[in-house]
């Protein structure tokens, strides 16, 4: 089985390096095909591992060689395929294999075709390292690796120039890429500190050693570790206040958004919390904080999605919101539910993004949904696929989202955090509304695109074909709930519900109700032409539309002062104070040399006089310091 593990891990890397060989060359279809094929190899290996583990409960471990050995620190390149990581592996490889196939069509006219596949496969490799590593350091490698690939891919169209926020809220791909990288770095520092803390008190970064040892540590320490690790998770999963990069990351090509910024990378934070459950289950207070933050983000992000006009940004906010849901589950100790939602979300959100990609492709990269409408006539399949995804997202039975999301609400209610439950419930309604607002504005209603002279067309058949499995999974994944629970709770703790029967049914009913009413409201409102223009002047609309002004606040509070400060540090402090002091000392020496130059007038009789004065001084010294007294 070790063989399959290594194949699953390294075939994306091979694909990436292969594509990199042609990096700067013109498009070669071969690179797309090879990388996709290798990802399918990886997918199949992951499935084989899944079946193997499911059938035998045998955890596969591989240790390649030692990475860092210093003092008592020993970090190996160790990989493990257990119930949790194999689920992640399957999810990641499934979505990425399909996205690869899809990208062959999506990127067909792009100059950087080969480069794109190289980056994309490199991303998959990093993600596999992240999920398969058997220690925190390996996780960190993947963690940074996906950050790097995300940077490369967000900034894929690096040649675009910077715009003002009014024209493009993300300024430019390269700006967005840098923002994402730096934001993640902030969180990574937290995570690094967490690793240090673990190492100095446990002496190892191996999961099993650390988790076996957690019980022995005092609770304050565990709390601190939990906080530090969660800071890392906050960055990668774009939780408030480190969330702004995710919406801006939509500057990358859409398959990237589907794979990285919806399905896989952003869920790494959730994965970390799930993976580190022995730590988090020790510290329910921090868990509750995580859940609260998650619930807040769920509503906060959904509210921004309500009014946005950018096709991809809406989906990005919805991702953010769903990540909030996952953290609620993770924070409240329902680790397997968080993981389950992570998986179903990966499927339907990737589907949604790929659908959005089709639309963009059809509309020449136009993103404003108010310039679309009535597209279902030309893009029938895309419309169907996106509606399936939206239904799943809204949590309608029997789509996958229903099962996972509903469980999270149940957990919130069951653990008696009714406020959280209420927020999530509200979020569910908002989710349903904005999803169908998007569907309505894009696919139905007046055909506004004609006004702008677009000629939309359906995407390639293989792009649709690539989306089909995701659609199927978005529909049926929910029915695997029981077996999923059974499978992962071999590692993860079970969540025991206290409420049963009628209350559960009522909860499901209430939730479904708000989701349905959200959908109904959206359909009703937008079939009639949407909200009035006056609404756009409303302060609440503006607040939401401008993302609560947070990006601007960040710019005013952090970015610009930092720029100013660094200018001051350089021009005022470094040049005028530090360097000037050095030069001043040098000048004093230099000037005193000039002053002393008078002595060397060249006049011999003066020199003689100096000589005699020197002699006198020496004689005085002889008398003063005479050894004979």
């Amino acid at each position: 089985m070790e063989k399959y593990l290594l194949i699953a891990l390294f075939s994306p890397l091979v694909g990436s390096l292969f594509a990199a060989l042609f990096g700067a060359k013109p498009k070669r279809l071969l690179t797309g095909i090879v990388t996709s094929a290798l990802l399918f190899v990886s997918l199949i290996s992951s499935l084989i591992l899944l079946v193997h583990i499911a059938s035998s409960d045998d955890i596969v471990r591989v240790k390649l060689f030692d990475w860092i050995t210093v003092g008592s620190l020993n970090i190996p390149f160790g990989f493990v395929a257990d119930q949790v990581s194999v689920i992640m592996m399957v999810t990641v490889t499934t979505v990425s294999a399909l996205v690869h196939v899809y990208s062959i069509g999506y990127m067909e006219h792009d100059k950087g075709f080969n480069r794109f596949f190289s980056y994309l496969s490199a991303f998959v490799f990093s993600m596999m390292v992240l999920v398969m590593s058997d220690n925190f350091a390996g996780l960190f490698i993947g963690w940074e690796g996906v950050g790097l690939c995300s940077w490369l891919l967000i900034g894929f169209w690096y040649h675009k120039k910077d715009e003002t926020r009014d024209i493009n809220p993300s300024i430019s791909p390269s700006w967005a890429a840098n923002e994402a990288f730096i934001m993640n770095r902030i969180a990574d520092l937290g995570m690094l500190l967490g690793l240090f803390l673990i190492y100095w008190h446990v002496g190892s970064l191996q999961y099993d050693v650390v988790f076996a040892h957690v019980d022995l540590l005092n609770i304050g320490l565990v709390t601190l570790i939990g906080i530090f690790l969660f800071i890392g998770a906050m960055g990668k999963s774009a939780q408030f206040p480190l969330h702004t990069w995710l919406a801006d990351a939509m500057e990358g090509p859409t398959p990237v958004s589907a794979l990285i910024h919806a399905a896989t990378m952003v869920t790494a934070g959730v994965y970390l919390v799930v993976r580190a459950f022995p730590i988090y289950s020790q510290i329910p207070d921090i868990g509750f904080f995580i859940a609260s933050l998650g619930a807040f983000v769920a509503v906060f992000a959904a509210s921004m999605a309500l009014v946005n006009t950018d096709l991809k940004r809406i989906i990005a906010y919805s991702t953010l919101s769903q990540l909030g849901y996952m953290f609620v589950a993770g924070g409240l100790g329902a680790y397997w539910i968080a993981l389950f939602h992570l998986m179903t979300h990966a499927f339907f959100k990737a589907l949604l993004f790929l659908g959005a990609g089709n639309v963009m492709h059809a509309m020449n990269d136009e993103l404003n949904i108010f310039k679309m409408g009535g597209l279902h006539k030309v893009m029938k399949y895309t419309a169907i696929l996106m509606i399936i995804a939206s239904l799943a997202l809204a949590g309608i039975y029997p789509f996958a989202g229903f099962f996972s999301k509903d469980k999270i609400l149940e957990v919130a209610f069951d653990s008696q955090h009714y406020i959280l439950w209420f927020m999530l419930w509200l979020g569910a309604g908002m989710t349903a509304f904005y999803s169908f607002r998007l569907i309505m504005l894009v696919f139905f209603g007046e055909e506004r695109y004609k006004k702008y002279g677009f000629h939309p067309h359906e995407a390639h058949w293989y792009m649709l074909l690539a989306m089909a499995p995701l659609a199927i999974l978005a529909i049926i994944a929910g029915f695997f709930e029981e077996s999923f629970e059974h499978f992962v709770t071999k590692i993860l703790p079970e969540y025991h519900f206290h409420v049963h029967g009628i209350v559960t049914v009522a909860l499901i009913g209430v939730t479904t109700l708000i989701a349905l009413s959200g959908i109904a409201f959206a359909i009703y409102k937008y079939s009639k032409g949407g909200f009035s223009e006056k609404w756009k002047e409303h302060p609440i609309y503006k607040l939401l539309y401008n993302q609560y002004y947070i990006p601007i606040i960040y710019e005013k509070v952090f970015t610009e002062p930092y720029k100013e400060l660094s200018k001051i540090a350089w021009k005022e402090l470094d040049l005028r104070v530090v360097d000037a002091t050095v030069d001043f000392i040098a000048n004093v020496v230099y000037k005193s040399g000039f002053a002393g130059r008078v002595v060397q007038s060249g006049n011999l009789s003066k020199m003689l006089r100096w000589m005699v004065i020197g002699l006198l001084v020496l004689i005085v010294l002889v008398i003063v310091y005479s050894p004979v007294r």
């Binding site: 130059r597 060397q600 007038s601 060249g602 006049n603 011999l604 009789s605 003689l608 006089r609 005699v612």
Partner: protein, 100 residues
């Protein structure tokens, strides 16, 4: 009784006279003379010490000083003559080309 100290004090006085000459005179020739006086003062001191410690080294030192003084005079006078030929003066203040 004449002791070593007498000689040494005499040497010191002579040396100071030489110093006066060195400081006061601007004529290079006079400076040479003053230098000779200083050397002689030291010679006296050496031979006095030599005598009172019963050691010949002092005398020999004085002897070498005499040799050096002789060479110094030979070379110095040569240079002085050249200088005088070129400048028409042997005033110390005319030696200003070493202005720093």
């Amino acid at each position: 009784m004449i002791t070593l100290t007498h000689y040494l004090v005499l040497a010191a006085i002579l040396f100071s006279i030489a110093l006066v000459g060195i400081l006061r005179r601007k004529n290079l020739l006079m400076l040479f003379f003053a230098t000779e006086i200083a050397l002689n003062a030291v010679n006296i001191a050496f031979s006095a010490i030599s005598k009172y410690y019963g050691d010949l080294t002092g005398q020999l030192f004085a002897f070498f000083i005499v040799a050096i003084a002789a060479s110094e005079v030979a070379v110095g006078l040569g240079l002085l003559i050249i200088w005088y030929k070129r400048r028409g003066t042997i005033d110390l203040d005319s030696l200003q080309s070493m202005n720093g």
